[in-house]
Symmetry: C2
């Protein structure tokens, strides 16, 4: 039916649900059932929902539903005011790696942390991130879990993540060698005039581990919790999909929408249905 | 009293008032009087306030008060859905250049425009900006008004300005030759991992035309109108001041605070007094 070498790329099979998209509505068990019901190809749980269900039980259910695990959200948050805080973060990241291994996640997504409270030392914060990733990398390699540094939009630099461009994330990766790469979220990188060559660079160096989609609304009413459904904003998502594919990425689009004002208030089955429909226009 | 070669750098004399800081409280005439009363070294009017007072009258009063004009805000907004809109923007920028010349402004600050309504073509928008600046540059040169491209924080990429890093602004300048440079606002560039070498680059190429200060609050409650007073946020303003001075910039710090939630509600004389006090810690 299809020419040799082609694959069926249905909008559902090429979509993975990041559970943040239905954070207030569904438990992980409900998300797994929903993904299976709507024919999604993958899932990407957050740790709080994973722990709620239990890691072993979650792993079993996800495998039974035939879902790929495109990531575990999230590790990181390496920056802290003192050494004890940084050590605690590293311990917690090791536990996150173990959880990611248990559910066979394609990667552990790292949201690296912002400035420690009271600090203006951005260079120091960025060094803490580099040190933190280096500290957990041996454990990640031993567990077979790639670490995916997710550059976050510069609007989050102070309080969430001081890694703010794809090139900056790749600069962190290069001296570390294997086992660490990047997660590209269109929401965070769409504005960056250097992002297209950076995506190619990520592909060339084999570091393109995940691809997240949603949209940037105009106006954005809340910097954190007003992300849009694909198609409702200004991001050229299809252009980004083509760019990551050209760089060798074959995984599904992972939909991750924080939307207190809209999608978090809707019926979860409607959200999944719309996400699948919209994903059709986001595939090359 | 001072060693040869040193200059008196009082926190007041080294401060210029961007009139947006007192937008709802004071007219331009009141701003000029206030700057004189508090001993400020400069002023940077917005065009609406300038037109309200009248350009000639404003020029006379500013000169009488002995204030340097560190900039006129603002030109730009080059992006539009059609050719007529882009032509209208260019006409308006020429009028802004004439106004800047009349008040002897050190530069015309350009906020370049975001995506045209309904557009997702960021590359096209950026080309429209480049074309717009090229179109007005001859008029600016003839009038003796340097154009200062102000890169805006990426959070404004969609709706206000698609020029979002200092390097991107300098890349626009380079092919255009003389008469165009950059305005560095710490609020917009503080997060950028490449900003320090970019500041040095701006200095080397003689393009460092203005330096704006305020602070990034944590949390930021509104992406547009919740800027902080110097010292109340996380930006290493002194570090940036030292960097621009090392790059050859000698002008005052221009304070520009959009603060619907705080400073716009206060007594204007209090705002100026606090700004002067805080500026002491922002000078190298």
């Amino acid at each position: 039916m299809f020419p040799p070498g082609t694959t069926v790329r249905s909008p559902a099979a090429m979509l993975s649900l990041n559970t943040a998209t239905l954070r207030p509505q569904w438990s992980l068990a409900e998300c797994i059932d929903g993904c299976e019901r709507h024919g999604l190809g993958g899932i990407s749980p957050w740790r709080d929902k994973l722990q709620e269900l239990g890691v072993a039980e979650a792993a079993r259910r996800i495998a039974d539903a035939g879902l790929a695990v495109t990531g575990l959200c999230r590790g990181g948050l390496f920056t802290a005011a003192d050494a004890a805080g940084r050590a605690a973060a590293i311990d917690d990241n090791r536990r996150a790696i173990d959880e990611a291994a248990a559910i066979r996640a394609a990667c552990l997504v790292l949201v690296c942390g912002g400035l420690a409270p009271g600090s203006r030392d951005l260079t120091g914060a960025r060094q803490q991130v580099a040190d933190g990733i280096a500290a957990i990398l041996p454990h990640a390699r031993a567990a077979g879990v790639p670490l995916a540094i997710e550059p976050l939009h510069p609007v989050y630099c102070a309080d969430r993540c001081c890694i703010n461009t794809l090139d900056q994330a790749l600069d962190l990766c290069d001296p570390l060698g294997e086992g660490v790469g990047v997660a590209v979220d269109v929401y965070h990188v769409w504005w960056d005039p250097a992002v297209r060559p950076a995506i190619a660079r990520a592909g060339t160096t084999g570091r393109l581990l995940a691809f997240h989609v949603c949209d940037w609304l105009v106006p954005t009413r809340d910097p954190l919790l007003d992300r849009g459904m694909m198609g409702d904003g200004v991001i050229d998502i299809l252009g980004f999909r083509r760019a990551v594919e050209a760089a060798g990425f074959q995984g599904p689009n992972e939909v991750e929408i924080f939307s207190e004002l809209n999608w978090w208030k809707r019926d979860p089955d409607e959200v999944l249905q719309v996400a699948v429909e919209r994903n059709a226009a986001c595939l090359g």
